[in-house]
Symmetry: C2
Subunit: 801 residues, 2 copies
């Protein structure tokens, strides 16, 4: 090793006494020992006999590279918590280092509290080792199974945004967020460095980023580790941080430097808090703007303390240390010997007592009880979760004298409700969105709070406030990461976004849904508030934008995840939206997707009717139907606000022109009702489905999204062969609302044509009507092409009985 | 306006002579005039009569805010190109500023060349205005319809990565990339600042970032506009740039400053190139490492030169200028008057001649022919596209003596082929991936090239080279953006990635697929090379990783886009993979998704058989079937390497234990063959489908991905009710390969049980076999739980006739 050790602003007096140095090193060695043991050993955990092949796992699966650095960080964080009593949690960005998070939790005792069969003795250690990356055991990454974590370390990019989400509204918390240098190359992480500019040090906890540079990602070098040091420092300072650099490989020196750097960081955080919270003066709320938030750059060798060379080839401090430095250990006696030497280099006999438990000296740096980082209640947010204090959503109802006689902007009304949710829950509810809260017409929330903003403000700004609770970064990644962190630490929230661009966080949604699925099976993890998406500015109303903004496929993406996690709601009008919102904000451990337009849209249901309709999830709208309680000739089904309006207009046309045709209108608000009961908890039994949709009559289904999704949900249904779905078929541009539905054959006229095409035995009047519908389409298209707007009769259409 | 004007390093001598200043300002005014006209006017384009209501569009749709800044940039870029003869294209990150890109292309004459009906006269101007954001016209954003663009400006975050993709291997090109301050908040953009660290100034073109700060995104302020100036400069310098700041609002002064800043930037680029390309000396290839790439920070008011106030409320330089500063212009005479004053403030009578054409003075800054930025052939890459020189993929075939008798790593063999593709196409082919090229066993490509890396190298590095052609940033966004930029400028490439994490670019894929769909309908846009995804490290083989790495849903996402764009291939073995790869690299205007594992997997088909199988896209494997050419009792269908192996093992079990059962094995490599011919160009006619799958026999389909996708593709097929699909049902963890298929009921034993459950009339032996299969599952599970590995008979299973 040729590293030199340098620390920014190194103290002249050592930060650690000899005793402290011994203690922190002992903890580190123990954690490293336990990490190597997890990767390699099936048995003989304390090396009480020489290593034999059968002690070794047959498949060596795990990542050593980042692990010793994580253990190093954890040991030092623990020491600080014990000394200072800091309330602290950590986020392990390099989640491959799962062995570190497990090893330290076991050393602290947390692991055995959560998993009593993994005792704190030799037998428990054997089980701890065996279960790692082993069938029926625990995954190789930091995962829901890991106590003390809210952060799955598989997909990279979200360590900092999760950390900030956890810190919000936890004024005393410090979230130490380890960011690997691989992760630091990702876009979402790169964008997260600006997160502190949205945090308020008077009210929010602090994030302490620890950029852990060990030089390689999988096989290649990393940008942040290799860029000129001057660039790195300038960049981090530009991000608004004061970086403390801890660099080297000699353990004793590195301990001193890390202890010193952490002292400086925690002192800096305390000072910023003091300054921000001391109040007073007209600009009291601006004092923190100039804060330079401390952070650590930790340069340590990849695979530190592991084999320097294997078979004559360098391993430590190279990309070869990424996974298992020694392979074929069962079959290769030399490798096995080297493994044994490696393990013994940590001197386990000094660390664990006869029973195999950590000696008191080994865990002398560990704080007590809930202060143990691995035991932080924030990392099991359900423990801290309190129900929201919700206003009665019925109080916000719009009057509906007759169905479809007047229009409101559903999200604007919802905004009033959310404003009061915000007011009643001033520390436990936030709204996230990429600067679309006002655009999505939820602007009423700004009567209760502002846009979070920890920088300069100008007179021309609208609703910007240092302590704002609406989080608007033009980064869906940041919004999602913040919200996940906020929810997983026991709070509530809502993410509002354009429907098309929510795909930006498809993969983050995947990871959160997977987290919830695994967490639900862990009794010690308590339920958390659901992740609520409100997708307004949806596919049908991109009047300003066009084709790039048109994509309703997030639903398709979402329904691939476990049914017990997923809920999708398409409220057709304002009162149904209010009722759905109330339901979602009360729910736990779900992902709720709510799609509701922001444009003026007809109202159909009184609040009582809306509640009843939502409770059923779908139902016949008798007032729009002409089947009079007997078997219909055709079912017009619809889901989504725009398709519902078109469907009603089609029903009206049929009523006028083919009055003897028995038409049933079915509206679907809870999309999962369409699935069979055996597929989804909300699934409708077949008998109930048949009663609504019939088994043999044509069903013309007008759907908000891609039409095939309806087929995928209903292919096991009896009447499926008679189902004809219209939806978005990827046709669009910047055009008028009605032109959009026409481009995709979802318009009222086409729905009538579909009815005529599929109902058998209609007479010549139907053929005439079909032609007339075709002409109506041509008329509308021509009007639009000429006037640049929808025809007045379309724009002003209302349902009339 | 209270802005001051400052420029870093302002020259003492004005950069522009009076004449030059007049000319560039004239061009700018003309572009602004044409932009406002597009947003507002239906008729009376030259204001030859007073504005009347009927001259105004009924729906005012567009974004003024960023537009004047874009016009300003374009005018100055054009002037430089004309002076210097620079080969230049531009990327309009703030794509909302569509009017700017259209206006400047029309001024340059490019627009009329591409769209002859939009003439360069008053009538053409009227049409230009009318079509904007108008039904049947052009979208409000920069889009495929816009000449000179490779970048849709709807979704934000990719301006820089597209720019670098365009610059690669175009040594003389300068790509000016305008990044809006909203976009700069996105993660992908934030991560793109490191892109130049992967570029080689000896071989690659230069990107000139122009960070256009106008202070607001939609309703809220932006981080980069408001962060302390010191932080901004430090950050940009840390990114490796030399920022030139042009800030202010007075046009004449701003022109001088912009001209000066651009002079500096283009001189800097020339100097870096000279230094890098002068060669000589042992470290000749490292001279550019210290290069500080120039960039511009342009601070100009949002809605610059637009209405300062409307109805007494400030608009210019506030968020209110984002869309249309003046609303209700038809109905509101005061607004209409203000619009007319605004338009006249550009003095159109000085800009356009009697016929309505731009006067010579107006376009004096415009370069000639292909040098016009809007006419860059790079922005219509199909014009420049040349076929790859491909080696004969048959030369890489693996020998297959008997089907299923031996295993190879399909991607390792593919690596050899790709190495030679790389060698034969040293300037037109690149491989992108988040450091997974070696991990995905394509390592042979490193015999032909290195990992691109423009920073320091260490002896422990593996295959890192300044002129490497494998682009490995741990950012799927960067990889995708680079590749899109590279393809759209007429080159070829491949993106290899983990299957689960390709969801990170779901939304980017959406935008690219939309781009291709629209481009195909524009005759002047020539076809470009397809975007090829190779998804290795797939859902079934995440032995090291676990649940977070398991998601096969990218296929589901992809098939929502237009069928004519989408191809999905699941080659079951090595030779089929080679043949698929060759096919994909020759194709145009598609997105090809190829899923192929990197682990040892059985080979079934000789190369001739593989070619025949791929040509059909799916087919009966007679050697594995026992239906002997007559109607089978059951069809075992499969798609994907792991499901194919399990299916064959199931077929073998059935052959041994129920020898009289007629089993047909059908393998699907081209997934789109399953769709009806009317749904997808590759769709199989119903008769052919029925001949393969029967109309009434049970089909047990073992699928690589989520099972319902097969139902969604086949629900119109005659035999659909008999189709039973097994696939990934979101169960997984870190475990053995066979345990993974068992967790999801995709294993051979379960497939046999499915056959027994669905074939009617089987006898008691079948019931016994079913029980035995159940026991085999238990045996395997128990073995795995005890030994941490799959049972040897599973691991070593081979097909034997």
């Amino acid at each position: 090793m040729t590293h030199t050790t340098t620390t920014t602003g190194l103290a002249t007096v050592p930060a650690l006494s000899d005793l402290e140095l011994r203690r922190v090193d002992r903890y580190w060695r123990a954690a490293n020992y336990l990490s190597v043991g997890q990767i390699y050993l099936l048995a003989n955990p304390l090396l009480r006999e020489p290593l034999r092949p059968e002690h070794i796992k047959p498949r060596l699966l795990g990542h050593w590279g980042t692990t010793p650095g994580l253990n190093f960080v954890y040991a030092h964080l623990s020491r600080q918590v014990r000394r200072r009593g800091t309330e602290m949690m950590w986020i392990v960005g390099p989640g491959h280092g799962g062995p570190a998070a497990v090893a330290t939790a076991w050393l602290d005792g947390t692991y055995s509290e959560v998993y009593p069969e993994i005792t704190r003795d030799a037998e428990g250690m054997r089980r701890l080792f065996r279960q790692f990356s082993f069938p029926g055991g625990v995954p190789s990454h930091v995962a829901p199974e890991t106590p003390g974590s809210i952060h799955e370390g598989g997909e990279l990019g979200y360590a900092l945004s999760h950390a900030y989400g956890a810190a919000f509204d936890n004024p005393d918390l410090v979230v130490a967020a380890v960011v690997g240098d691989g992760e630091a190359e990702t876009g979402p992480l790169a964008g997260s460095w600006m997160a502190h500019r949205f945090a308020d040090p008077r009210r929010d906890g602090a994030v302490l980023p620890i950029l852990h540079l060990n030089g390689y990602k999988i096989a290649g070098p990393t940008v942040l580790a290799r860029m000129p040091e001057g660039d790195l420092v300038a960049m981090l300072e530009g991000f608004g941080h004061r970086p403390y650099i801890v660099s080297g490989d000699d353990p004793a020196t590195m301990h001193q430097h890390m202890a010193h750097a952490l002292d400086r960081c925690l002192d800096d955080i305390a000072a910023i808090r003091r300054r921000a919270r001391s109040g007073g003066g007209p600009d009291g709320d601006r004092r923190h703007i100039e804060a330079r938030w401390p952070m650590i750059v930790l340069r340590s060798p990849k695979g530190w303390t592991g084999p320097g060379e294997v078979d004559g080839i360098p391993v430590e401090n190279t990309w070869r240390a990424h996974q298992v430095p020694l392979s074929e250990v069962r079959a290769n006696p030399a490798h096995r010997r080297q493994l044994e030497e490696w393990l013994r280099s940590y001197r386990p006999e000094e660390l664990f007592d006869e029973r195999g438990a950590p000696m008191a000296e080994t865990t002398a740096v560990v704080p007590a009880g809930d202060r143990r980082i691995s035991a932080s209640p924030h990392a099991n947010g359900g423990l801290l979760l309190k129900d929201l204090t919700l206003p009665d959503f019925r109080d916000y109802a719009v009057d509906v004298e007759r169905p479809g006689s007047a229009a409101t902007e559903a999200t604007r009304v919802l905004g009033g409700y959310l404003r009061d949710v915000m007011r009643r829950n001033p520390r436990t509810f936030r709204i996230m969105g990429p600067d679309e809260t006002a655009s999505n017409r939820l602007g009423a929330v700004f009567e209760a709070t502002g846009r979070a903003w920890d920088m300069a403000r100008l007179p021309t700004d609208d609703g910007v406030a240092p302590d704002g609770r609406v989080m608007e970064a033009l980064s869906e990644h940041l919004c999602q990461g913040w919200l996940e962190g906020y929810l997983l630490t026991g709070r509530h929230g809502l993410f509002n976004s354009y429907e098309a661009f929510i795909h930006i966080v498809d993969s983050m949604f995947n990871q959160h849904a997977k987290w919830l699925k695994v967490s639900r099976a862990l009794p010690w993890r308590r339920p958390v508030a659901s992740l609520n998406y409100l997708l307004s500015s949806h596919v049908w109303r991109q009047d300003h934008n066009g084709f790039s903004h048109q994509d309703p496929g997030f639903i398709d993406h979402v329904v691939n995840k476990k049914p017990e996690i997923i809920r999708v709601y398409l409220p057709p009008d304002t009162n149904t939206l209010l009722s759905v919102a109330d339901h979602c904000l009360r729910s736990r451990d779900y992902v709720n997707v709510v799609i509701a337009g922001k444009q003026p849209n007809l109202d159909y249901l009184t609040m009582d009717e809306a509640i009843a309709h939502n409770t059923r999830g779908l139902g016949i709208w008798e007032w729009a139907s002409t089947d009079a309680g007997v078997e219909p000739d055709v079912v017009l089904a619809c889901a989504g606000d725009v398709p519902t309006a078109e469907t009603l207009a089609a029903a009206k046309l049929l009523r006028e022109h083919l009055p003897e045709l028995r038409v049933r209108v079915v509206n679907v608000v809870d999309l999962m009702r369409l699935q069979p009961a055996e597929e989804h908890p909300h699934g409708l039994p077949h008998s109930a489905f048949d009663a609504l949709f019939t088994v043999d009559k044509p069903v013309i289904f007008a759907f908000h999204g891609y039409p095939w999704l309806i087929h995928r949900l209903t292919y096991r249904r009896n009447g499926h062969a008679n189902l004809h779905v219209r939806g978005y078929k990827e046709e669009g541009t910047t055009t008028t609302p009605f032109d959009m539905v026409m481009l995709n054959d979802l318009d009222r006229f086409h729905l009538v044509m579909d009815v005529i095409d599929h109902v058998p035995g209609l007479d010549v009047r139907a053929a005439h009507l079909r032609q007339r519908m075709q002409n109506e389409r041509l008329r509308c298209r021509a009007y639009t092409r000429e006037h640049g707007d929808d025809a007045p009769d379309i724009r002003e259409w209302r349902w009339t009985p």
